[in-house]
Symmetry: C2
Subunit: 349 residues, 2 copies
């Protein structure tokens, strides 16, 4: 059976209507709302064909049709037209990334929030994990009479502060030189490179302040562990409650539970690496408990190596074209920011 022009128009109409109303779409509705110049009876015949082809289906006999996962797939691959971002959306996305680019984790957090606000779906964002595994800078600062501040920066400007308590702090100069020395020893180190040799060199640099060794080691470990771990920021989970798909509280709860398991998300994000934009529709998604959802992920890169992923989760009946355009816009903005950061890194070596 050929998928002629008219069938496509009808499929298009069904998908549009269903995305909008979440109700099965009947032939009469299409005849009235979309002026295709044919009667409902003809539409019925065509719909029967479309169903045979597996593109639409009936939730129950004698109800209207809804798109099948396959139908959405066809729509996404061939029918859907790319939406342009409105100037306001464009502007908004830009304002988000430019607000505070100094620390990657804030940037990601804000990006997730912005996306869920713009799309009304749930968003998750995985932080870039690249050059993070090595110490880039480590310094000591005075904080007050009984505490020092240890600042550790790893690649990608992932920065952590740690307060270290001590009975009395060294002089400003001493702190400075101790910081410099520590930095000389530790710069470029990854966590498992800090062995006995490194530690005894640290001890040598700490001089009479050996008490600092333990807290510093602990702080380094905490920072590196946090840096290594793929961070997933999620936002807008509660948006899902607004969709009739999740009117049943049980469904909502089980989806939330699935989303809560960050491991699942991480796997999903990992799988999507390599593709620019990946769209998983309903059952295409391997994660049980998200069969009623579609997930659109985009990876942002810097140079060649992929860095992180943004994903948007919504009901299969989601507004694919809007999501894709917003996602593309966001990726571009983030890549710009990352490029700026990396320029700094490169010149450093």
């Amino acid at each position: 059976m050929a998928l002629n022009d008219r069938k496509i128009q009808i499929l298009q109409a069904i998908i549009n209507d269903y995305i909008e109303t979440a109700e099965p779409v009947g032939s009469r509705t299409i005849a009235k709302k979309y002026n295709l110049g044919i009667s409902s009876a003809t539409i019925r015949n065509e719909m029967s064909d479309l169903e045979e082809m597996g593109l639409i289906l009936q939730p129950h006999a004698s109800s209207g049709r809804i798109p099948s996962d396959m139908g959405y797939r066809l729509y996404v691959d061939h029918l859907m037209q790319q939406k342009e971002l409105s100037p306001e959306e464009q502007k908004y996305l830009q304002s988000v990334v430019s607000r505070d680019i100094s620390q990657i984790d804030y940037l990601m957090e804000e990006s997730a929030k912005a996306l869920s606000l713009l799309t009304n779906y749930t968003t998750f964002v995985s932080e870039p994990v690249g050059q993070r595994t090595r110490i880039k800078q480590i310094r000591l600062l005075p904080l007050d009479s009984t505490s020092l501040l240890l600042v550790i920066a790893t690649g990608d400007n992932f920065i952590k502060n740690h307060v270290i308590k001590m009975d009395s702090v060294p002089s400003e100069e001493k702190i400075f030189y101790m910081g410099i020395s520590l930095n000389r020893v530790l710069q470029g180190c990854s966590l498992n490179e800090i062995d006995g040799a490194v530690i005894s060199r640290m001890q040598a640099e700490l001089m009479e302040y050996q008490e600092l060794l333990q807290p510093i080691l602990k702080a380094i470990e905490m920072t590196m562990r946090a840096a290594e771990k793929i961070q997933v920021h999620m936002s807008g989970t509660k948006n899902m409650l607004a969709f009739p798909e999740f009117a049943d509280i049980q469904k909502a709860k089980s989806l939330f539970q699935t989303l809560e398991e960050k491991d699942v998300l991480v796997t999903m994000l990992e799988e999507s690496k390599g593709n620019d934009i990946q769209i998983l529709i309903g059952s295409e998604n391997s994660v049980q408990g998200m069969k009623d959802c579609s997930v659109i992920t985009a990876t942002y890169k810097m140079g060649d190596n992929t860095r992180g992923t943004i994903g948007i989760v919504g009901p299969t009946r989601m507004d694919y074209s809007q999501v894709i355009s917003v996602l593309n816009g966001m990726v571009q903005n983030i890549e710009n920011v990352l490029r700026n950061l990396s320029d700094g890194n490169k010149k450093n070596t």
Copy 2:
């Protein structure tokens, strides 16, 4: 009508049962489950009295009784017995605050999470805002060949990092002395004290790196604004979905919306200042949209001045005694931490 011993026993039984089952409690249930040595008929008579006194009510005629807000109030004020924290709970609370005390905002975030985990209700925590309005330390560090790191610490060890981009960074020593000088100028300043005079002193200290002035001023402003703003961390909102009270998705949504408006929470927290522990039951709560909830707040202090607040939101049918004991435990732990921090501050002056 006198509230004799037996009536109290019956009220107690109703409340206990209702907290457990969320179902209206009938006279026969009480007669069977709680061996009060009287028949269901007698209990009915007593219940009729209790209802007249406004302590319990019937959701509909010929159903069992549920406690009224007034009934809960009586229970909380006079009947409820303080629960002891189990050693495990005690230990858990301690482990949370000791995990990472270096930065107040992490501590608060973790506290909120821990409380919602322990109680299965929703928790919100407001950060202490006290000596935050003044700069405690401000320093510069090298980050890479095109960026500096500006570290700003205000009171309470509220610490923010800012990456500043520049064409080429000064030498390590120069950065150090510039940081020291800046610190000399800015230490102890609040945001509105940074006037023309201060700025020209900063300019003098920056020497040939005037380009740094603008980013530094911007970073200071962002940090101080963030420090001044009362931060509210919330956790465990999704716990509410598990309660039959919120089986209706509309109710859940409207509660979530209310909780989302942080202003509302802040006001509520402000109101509760002064009291050690404040319990608002159902309609006692002035916030519309939380009439079906009880809110228990505790303030943590340091010395005399109140610092911040922890609140737990649950259905009116919440386990008051458990929540109160957990809350008390948490407050003590947080106060310990804050005391340690402040010791450092004092010696500094």
